[in-house]
Symmetry: C2
Subunit: 394 residues, 2 copies
Amino acid sequence: MRFRIIKRSRDSWARAAVIETPHGKIRTPAFIPVSTKASVKTLSSEELNEIGAEVLMNNTYHLMLKPGSRTVKKLGGLHRFMHWNKAIITDSGGFQAFSLGYGKETSVKKIYFPDEGNSGRKGSERIAKVNENGVEFRSIYDNGKHLLMPEDSIRIQEELGADIILVLDECTSPLAGYDYTKKSMELTNRWALRCIKAHKSKQALFGIVQGGEYKDLREESARFIASQPFGGYSIGGSLGKSKKDMHRILRWVVPLLDYKKPRHLLGIGAVEDLFETIELGMDLFDCVGPTRIARVGIIYVSPKEGGNRKNKFRYRITRKEFEHDEKPLDPNCKCYACRNYTRAYIRHLFKANEMLAYRLASIHNLHFIVNLVKDIRKAILKGTLKRMKREWMS
Amino acid sequence: MRFRIIKRSRDSWARAAVIETPHGKIRTPAFIPVSTKASVKTLSSEELNEIGAEVLMNNTYHLMLKPGSRTVKKLGGLHRFMHWNKAIITDSGGFQAFSLGYGKETSVKKIYFPDEGNSGRKGSERIAKVNENGVEFRSIYDNGKHLLMPEDSIRIQEELGADIILVLDECTSPLAGYDYTKKSMELTNRWALRCIKAHKSKQALFGIVQGGEYKDLREESARFIASQPFGGYSIGGSLGKSKKDMHRILRWVVPLLDYKKPRHLLGIGAVEDLFETIELGMDLFDCVGPTRIARVGIIYVSPKEGGNRKNKFRYRITRKEFEHDEKPLDPNCKCYACRNYTRAYIRHLFKANEMLAYRLASIHNLHFIVNLVKDIRKAILKGTLKRMKREWMS
């Protein structure tokens, strides 16, 4: 893997770059559609190509359960298995240590907004527990026990055969206190060393910065990860209790990392997050958001059509007002759904529970976000990012 | 609408013909994918084009509830609404008089196989009742009452704007006795006259032959329908208690119809039914089977790959033996799914409950059946139908 910076912004940490992988170039900043179980939900590879995606992100935990990494290896690796010849990243399973553990117990996400009614109290029994050895998972399919150690995660990711792989980490909760977050970060660092030792393939290995919302922990983590021979960096774990917290955390971390390596902001990718975090030096974003909200009828829309910070550049296509609306989902969009189908029809498909609804909305939302990030990249190259940000965010 | 017969078989009633509609030609025999609620489940119009479909069949009952025929009319009619510029047929709602009525109560289909464990006893409360005026439906969405009279069905179908529309009929159950079937057939005939009277548009109107499994009733119905100024004929209702019964019924009916008009066998279209019923003069077939079985992982396969009468040209892709199978669903198939994806991957998608599974299997099954009927048409034109039938059915 090579990382070439093409242009750095003068007035922010934003940069336009290229990651060269054995499966083609990733022009960064780039949005990564999430193909958890070797499929971006409802979409074909050709559709993802047409959208303009240059990289997908698969999940180690889910694929080790079904179909199993040995099966994928036997079938020629992920690219061949899922009929995708561009780049692939695999997540390590570390996020599931949180989402199926403390996150499941408390129903808290990576950013915890105390004002938004997420009490952090309801939730169901955890099926992931962390100890020194690794993560003890239960299968979401048959409740079977699986111990995932750092060495296992690396071996499984080698068998899966992605271009970029991640170290096993513990993603911490925004509800975790200082002491737990410190211990967890130190554990993640010990696991990082075990991953480096276990890593034999030519796949690029990214380290993961943890440390929650605590400045000294984030700095310690960033220094440690930067000191190791990683191909790039992911920024994981709790990002605090507000968007401002998230930005503050990036301001602590980024200067401590080697700027010649790519930086991946794990699990973030809402429209309103992109400008700020790209200006804070982020190169890669993955997020299930665009497809997840698509499946419940929430549609991305550009500022020309009423998208703004307050409505998060979204509207609900199921609203009555679209019953007779013959416009496309976003008249400024060139995606397959917008070229061919009306709001009225797509609203009908949602109302009638037709699966085509989920597809058309997923195509649109992914096209929207992938190409917004491409446009941001162009703006970085032209030196017009500030203006573009103003047009979108004011 | 024009119907031109290109070639008639010497040794059967099979014929190759062309139906010319305002939205292009339907080369018959033809298989009609079913787009009940204005969508062939999971598929886009472009995929249906690529499959080779020349006509789709929508449903009056479902569309009158959502989005409503006035909404469709306001949006320019079905073709524009659903982004499909080839021919469309709308069913009249008559099938739902059965499937949501007696069929729901008894869980019986149009052919009742006493040996196949379908007891005809279980089932749930009916939500359709027939009286002289029309069909009293409950909505599947909100249980609201809707009376559908023959005049309503015609008006709704005019608003929907299909190329071919059907008279409202009562589809009878294979469990109905002679007396009920006779009364029902006479009611269907009275409704047919009311439909003819209400029909003002230039859409082609097809009559429906009823009469269940009773020779005199089928003959009476066929004579009556043939005496009316219909553009074509649909053969509906109970088709008896075996495939042989179905064939016998067609042998009674077909000679009584005007051979210069197209004949549509309603709701039938399994592979093993096609050869026999095309030889008995059927031109059009619609069936939800290929897509419905696709969504539970049942895949059509050609004789070269083990498909035969006994296995109904099907296999289950979820079987363990396909875990490492890198072949396409059917190596002889040229559909999008078979050109790009392996059995192992599609099996994985089903096991992981990924919606892409339903799409790929639906594309394959529809491609398989639509193109099988196209191949049968070619065989009629070349005079090789008997040989082709032997290759498939022996």
